[in-house]
């Protein structure tokens, strides 16, 4: 079990790195996530990468999700 915090945006850079494709070669808009390959190659449990002890994300209120389109 790994306790590192990760976000969905971390998968694209992980997969590109595994496939040997640099961000420049990818043709994609700048990637905001961070690759998880360091965790993949580690056999540790718990917090593997000490920097991954938190996660910040946000949600714009244009995406309605509450009754009455309350935001």
């Amino acid at each position: 079990m790994v306790d590192d915090y990760l976000s969905f945006i971390d998968f694209a850079p992980t997969i590109l790195e595994a496939a040997g494709i640099s961000e420049e070669q990818s043709g994609m808009q700048p990637i905001q996530g961070r690759s998880l390959t360091g965790i993949f190659s580690s056999s540790k449990n718990g917090l593997v990468d000490k920097k991954r002890d938190h996660l910040i994300f946000g949600q714009e209120r244009h995406d309605v999700g509450r009754p009455g389109d309350a935001g």
């Binding site: 590192d4 992980t14 494709i21 990818s26 043709g27 700048p30």
Partner: protein
């Protein structure tokens, strides 16, 4: 664990995000190297639709059995803190495919949007760099993704959906996921690695009412606790088991 959130609104909101985080765990755990045709790995993504992490037996749930997921968790990595920046179908998949947050994706941050042409997916990039790419069932959806000529884009590769099966209850997809993956493997170009997206339609509703008890052999009393944001009654308990 099968823990339930407390009743504070804020906490419930956060928990709902966590509930969607199971999606993050499955593909990561299934990301694996196999059958090397080159030094580049084959990649299989298994994406569930509306799975709640407390309902996976790898996390300690006693009334739902998820042996496939548990095996991958046991042989791979099981994450305790995996989050989606946006807990909805199309925008969460857009974040996954682009490596960008909702507020960095323009219309793709919405539900049922037009996917902006400027944002490429990693699966489009993999295809461009010599990967066989494909998907079965639910890829990026719901929404419209077309190129500048109005032609549909393949954000998750080519669709493989012709193989059908008889589902055990109505509301469960009749798409034969494994059979379509076989088709993809049979039809792929030799000498190239692959990336395949298995996008399950389950456990997203609709459900056949009572099928969990009648066909799945489940008991209403086996559910330890119902999430506090739902009423705890037979209708809801059946719904969970269906």
């Amino acid at each position: 664990m099968c823990s339930i959130p407390n009743t504070e609104d804020k906490r419930i909101y956060m928990q709902k995000i966590v509930l969607k985080s199971i999606i993050a765990i499955t593909p990561l755990a299934l990301l694996s190297c196999s059958g090397k045709v080159s030094d580049r790995p084959n990649i299989l993504i298994a994406m569930g639709d509306d799975i709640s992490w407390p309902h996976m037996s790898a996390y300690g749930c006693s009334f739902v059995s998820t042996p496939g997921f548990d095996r991958v968790a046991g042989e791979g990595i099981l994450f305790n803190n995996a989050y989606t920046p946006n807990a909805k179908s199309a925008p969460s998949r857009a974040c996954f495919l682009t490596g960008r947050n909702s507020w960095q994706l323009e219309e793709a941050g919405n539900h049922v949007p037009f996917f902006p042409q400027k944002y490429s997916s990693f699966m489009e990039s993999l295809k461009m760099h010599g990967y066989n790419t494909g998907f079965t069932a639910k890829g990026w959806a719901p929404g419209v993704a077309t190129d500048s000529a109005g032609k549909p884009r393949q954000l998750t590769g080519k669709a493989y959906n012709t193989q059908k099966t008889a589902p055990p209850a109505s509301g469960i997809s009749n798409i034969d996921y494994a059979g379509n993956f076989d088709d993809f493997l049979d039809q792929r170009e030799p000498g190239k690695p692959f990336c395949f997206w298995y996008g399950s339609s389950e456990p997203h509703r609709r459900y056949e009412f009572g099928s969990g008890v009648a066909k799945g052999g489940k008991k209403l009393t086996s559910i330890e606790k119902v999430f506090s944001f739902w009423p705890d009654n037979d209708t809801v308990r059946n719904d969970i088991l269906d």
